[in-house]
């Protein structure tokens, strides 16, 4: 049974950042702007917040420090995503191009600034954020072991964001307008919605969640930040498409991917899998192969937001 708990906890470490970032991407794409810059936004968010952890490491620790870092990561993401928003919305630029530019800029910037500030590009931090067991809740049998032991506060924030996202997208006026802009911006405009403002909102939400996702990805899995989030931004994009731009299915997709990733990362600690003698590289490949296979069966009726990726032009017919 302890193996199940272990795998479940590991799965969370991989799945939660994917979930958060993919949800961010969902808001952007649902408003009609493709945000391929998620990778860069994650890198920037992780960089500034980890730098904060590094600089305040002597005086602060624990959940308070992490919460401030979370705010910093989100703020950075928002600011950085504004570049994408300006290019995509005001300048009607090709969204792939500006996204690629941001993806290229972020790691270069992180290394450049880190070198200036501290001489080396790795930003160290001490991890004081792991929660051994949540008081009271952690002692519930089974459920406590699954959800409330060996965890991070970010896991709960991620789940909170999921619920909030679903409510905002489907139960609020804002969500309805946002979705309208992604499906048929001209119609939304005719109905009195300010398309530009909705798209800015969409991209900025994706920036906030992308930046947060960067921090959430680095904290449980490493003790330093080396100007990369290992392609997680692109994987989040994959999860977003895999999840058909819907919060519930995005959760499913990120759990699926997180589980296969967790098995790949931790199989040597699981006697049953370790004894099978499968080479480690096969485990590393399984998440990607499995995703491809699942996609073959689920892509037939893809439901991308119809206007996603098309710059909105008021005058267009």
């Amino acid at each position: 049974m302890s193996v199940v708990y272990f795998i479940f906890q590991q799965t969370m470490f991989f799945a939660i950042p994917l979930l958060i970032v993919a949800l961010g991407g969902m808001f952007s794409e649902r408003s009609g702007v493709v945000n391929i810059a998620l990778e860069g936004i994650m890198t920037m968010g992780a960089f500034t917040s980890i730098l904060f952890l590094n600089l305040t490491g002597k005086n602060m620790s624990g959940q308070g420090q992490l919460l401030i870092a979370i705010v910093i990561a989100m703020a950075t993401g928002v600011v950085f995503s504004l570049f994408h928003a300006y290019a995509a919305i005001n300048m009607k630029a090709d969204q792939t191009i500006s996204g690629t530019a941001l993806n290229m800029f972020a790691p270069a910037f992180a290394i450049f600034v880190a070198r200036i500030i501290q001489g080396v590009q790795q930003v160290q931090f001490s991890n004081t954020f792991r929660i051994e067991s949540v008081p009271v809740l952690g002692s519930i049998p089974v459920v406590g072991d699954l959800f409330f032991k060996n965890t991070y506060i970010t896991t709960y924030i991620g789940i909170g964001i999921l619920i909030l996202s679903a409510v905002v997208l489907y139960k609020t006026k804002f969500g309805l307008r946002l979705r309208a802009c992604g499906e048929h911006p001209q119609a939304a405009d005719a109905a009195g919605v300010n398309v530009y403002r909705m798209q800015y909102a969409g991209v900025m939400i994706s920036g906030a969640l992308g930046g947060l996702g960067g921090l959430v990805f680095v904290v449980p899995t490493s003790t330093n930040f080396n100007a990369t989030v290992s392609g997680y931004g692109f994987l989040a994009l994959a999860v977003l498409i895999f999840g058909q731009w819907k919060p519930g299915r995005i959760l499913g997709a990120s759990l699926f991917f997180g589980l296969t990733k967790a098995v790949a990362a931790a199989y040597s600690g699981i006697p049953f899998l370790n004894n099978m003698g499968i080479p480690s590289y096969l485990y590393k490949m399984i998440p990607y192969i499995a995703t491809l296979i699942v996609l073959i069966f689920t892509s037939k009726n893809s439901q991308a937001p119809r206007a996603s990726g098309v710059p909105y032009d008021k005058g267009a017919r």
């Binding site: 570049f83 800029f105 996609l295 892509s299």
Partner: protein
């Protein structure tokens, strides 16, 4: 004809505008970091590539070879309406194919390098074919399929090289060098650029650029591919087999990226497949090259050389205690502003329209350019 010329000229102009802004911002960053060293540092970025004369120029062409090809791969796919983010995987798998033949097939003599090169093309083509087939027949988004293929390719190559004794150099944790006969011949370029690492790979890259240009612009096949890119449904209505188009363009894009990998690892410059769990950079640089080159084969050729030129200059930046990442920052800014091409085009069109108004009342060369620019945009790249 006239109209087409006008479009080309505004396109190039917007790229020049982007490059200027990128360089200016780069200079400002240097200025902020270290005012004293900024002027010589910036000068080094612009001229560093010439530090060693002909050798330096040869190095620029050598660096540019793989990124021209990956750029061409991405640009070609863009032209046909597909976003090939999988150049990275195709690159490494193609490189693997080339290295495999380069090490294992001993008795091929003088055609050994050609066989190795073709193996690279073939492996890359297969890696591009998979997302193409998935897109055409199962409607799988090619972006996500390519991303998955990147990782599968990277881990697969690492796995194979590491576990296959004849190929693995376990002291340096990389692939063994290919046989001497498998290195691409210099084709006389070593005489032109003595001491540099340049080889026939550059000539091959230029030839492929020309070939792709001819295929895209001068053949019915290329026309069909582009038509599918502009509008899948309309092309089907016009009797074009759009599934075939998608499969072929991904396969060709993969083949070009595979060739890029082959050209790098058969260059005889001590480059080996390293066993690290990171995706090959060349694939992502290719995206930048393609975008800077406006997805036009000839533009991509120049964009590849330009980025290689900046990168070569950047090496010398360390003399001034700047890290070389400033080059990536500059290139990123250039790419960012090249995305504003549409606005620059409209601006130029407006200026020209005003000129036209003054000359002949309401005659409309500007309008035509603007509306062309807009329609270009609509049919343009979609992720």
């Amino acid at each position: 004809m006239n109209k087409k010329r006008k479009f080309d000229y505004t396109g190039v102009l917007s790229s020049v505008f982007a490059i200027l802004i990128g360089l200016i911002v780069g200079f400002i960053i240097l200025l902020i970091c270290n005012p004293k060293q900024s002027a010589p540092g910036f000068f080094t970025i612009l001229t560093g590539a010439f530090t060693h004369g002909a050798k330096g120029v040869g190095q620029v062409f050598y660096y540019s070879t793989p990124i021209i090809l990956t750029g061409l791969s991405v640009g070609f796919a863009f032209k046909t309406g597909l976003f090939n983010i999988g150049a990275s995987g195709q690159f490494i798998v193609g490189g693997f194919g080339a290295v495999y033949v380069g090490i294992m097939c001993e008795n091929l003599g003088s055609i050994h390098w050609l066989a190795a090169l073709l193996a690279g093309v073939l492996f890359g083509a297969i890696w591009g074919l998979v997302p193409g087939l998935l897109k055409a027949f199962f409607n799988v988004n090619e972006v996500i399929a390519s991303i998955m293929m990147n990782y599968i390719g990277m881990y697969g190559v690492n796995w194979f090289v590491k576990s296959y004794k004849p190929m693995f150099n376990n002291i340096r944790n990389e692939s063994k060098p290919v046989l001497q006969t498998a290195n691409i011949p210099k084709m006389g370029l070593d005489k032109l650029f003595p001491d540099s690492s340049i080889n026939g790979g550059f000539i091959i890259a230029v030839l492929v650029v020309i070939l792709i240009y001819l295929v895209l612009d001068k053949t019915a096949f290329g026309y069909e591919l582009k038509a599918v890119g502009y509008n899948r449904d309309a092309s089907r209505y016009a009797g074009i087999n759009e599934k075939k188009g998608i499969v072929f363009s991904m396969m060709i894009a993969g083949a070009i990226s595979g060739l890029a990998g082959a050209c790098l690892y058969l260059a005889g410059t001590g480059k080996h497949i390293e066993i690290v769990d990171t995706l090959a950079d060349e694939g992502f640089t290719g995206i930048s090259v393609a975008l800077l080159g406006l997805c036009h084969p000839i533009g991509i050729l120049f964009a590849g050389i330009f980025i290689a030129y900046l990168t070569a200059g950047g090496f010398y930046l360390q003399l001034f205690e700047f890290s070389t990442e400033i080059i990536d920052i500059i290139v990123a800014i250039i790419i960012y502003f090249s995305a504003f091409a549409l606005m620059v085009k409209m601006l130029i069109a407006k200026v020209e329209k005003n000129k036209g108004d003054k000359k002949s009342g309401l005659k409309e060369p500007g309008d035509a350019a603007a509306s062309k620019a807009v329609s270009d945009k609509k049919g343009g790249i979609k992720a």
